[in-house]
Subunit: 200 residues, 2 copies
């Protein structure tokens, strides 16, 4: 039951707001899971259920020094992280090639283009030219909202950033993308929204 002030206004406090937030989060299951964890778990489900084969690519490493101890596995003694030249995730779903990035932002009203490197955009454009399905899964962490943002939105803002703004307004993502409702299995059922993309 909602409690009202004598003037009719709804009674809310920071406390009740945080309770609501906690209640919402209950269906998300594990608190504090990163978007990457959530997507990896979703992909695991999709794989085991025979729905799709999507994997996160390993982080590229530049190996400088490897030590081979006798009778045991090689040990990398020195290596550096390399910048990825592609996106993080790809795979196959009902004959379609999927290729996407997953990004979290703490921003409230827009998604900064600085989340991407030029070669990732180039990669996604090349994949789309080959009739691959490209998108970004964007999470606004302050509101726990997750969107599937088709790559064309990203391309439009990326290509205009020299003269335009350096971020994509959340309102545009809400209008032209798809908000993904959290579920139980999989946690982030993004393939439902890929189906909508394919119907377009």
């Amino acid at each position: 039951m909602a409690i009202h002030y004598p003037n009719g206004g709804l009674f809310t406090t920071k406390n009740s707001a945080s309770k609501k937030s906690r209640a919402n989060n209950t269906i998300y299951g594990k608190r504090g899971m990163s978007l990457e964890d959530e997507i990896n778990e979703s992909n695991k489900y999709y794989l085991s259920a025979g729905i799709a084969v999507i994997h996160k690519k390993p982080t590229p490493i530049q190996i400088v020094d490897v030590y081979y101890p006798k009778r045991s596995a090689a040990v990398i003694k020195k290596a550096y992280f390399k910048q990825a030249s592609t996106t993080d995730y790809n795979g196959v779903y009902r004959g379609h090639y999927l290729d996407f990035e997953a990004k979290e932002t703490k921003n409230k009203t827009s998604f900064p283009l600085s989340n991407f490197h030029a070669h990732q955009i180039k990669h996604m454009k090349a994949c789309q030219d080959q009739a691959g399905i490209c998108f970004t899964i964007v999470k606004f962490v302050t509101t726990d909202q997750v969107f599937l943002m088709p790559a064309n939105i990203l391309f439009d803002y990326w290509d205009a950033q020299a003269t335009g703004r350096k971020s994509i307004p959340k309102a545009v993502i809400e209008r032209d993308g798809f908000e993904i409702d959290y579920a139980l299995r999989p946690r982030i059922p993004y393939l439902n929204y890929v189906d909508l993309l394919l119907e377009k």
Copy 2:
């Protein structure tokens, strides 16, 4: 001109055979390139020509210890190689998802199944179930012959190995696969043979 023995048999020596082999190798360009190098170079060509987007996945690494020096890039101080759970190559070609391994063998008459792990076979089967195009590029290094071997050949021998042989006869690969002729650009024009697979 072929030189014949008085009995009509063709005159061959180890020496002339190796000369022939060397002559063949001239068109391959760089001697001593590994199959992986040759495929990476071919993929680079396919990408730059807008023909396909195929990448080798980074080697998966288990990072144990990372050092973050001030004002410079993170240095991995200890890490191990992990076993890959998928194949080495995947990507998109004219709307098709491609997924493959590249393997060299020094064997002369067969290709050992020990080149694969169970989870790679499982991965390729799952991809094929999603209408992905799966195959292995096999190089017989002693004769410098490269074949595109459709995944079904591998699956058949893999599934029968408990009671059957532990390798795929080269004769079967020659009969049911495609021998890839080396070329200049790209060095290994395997997509020509993917076209044949798609026509089937």
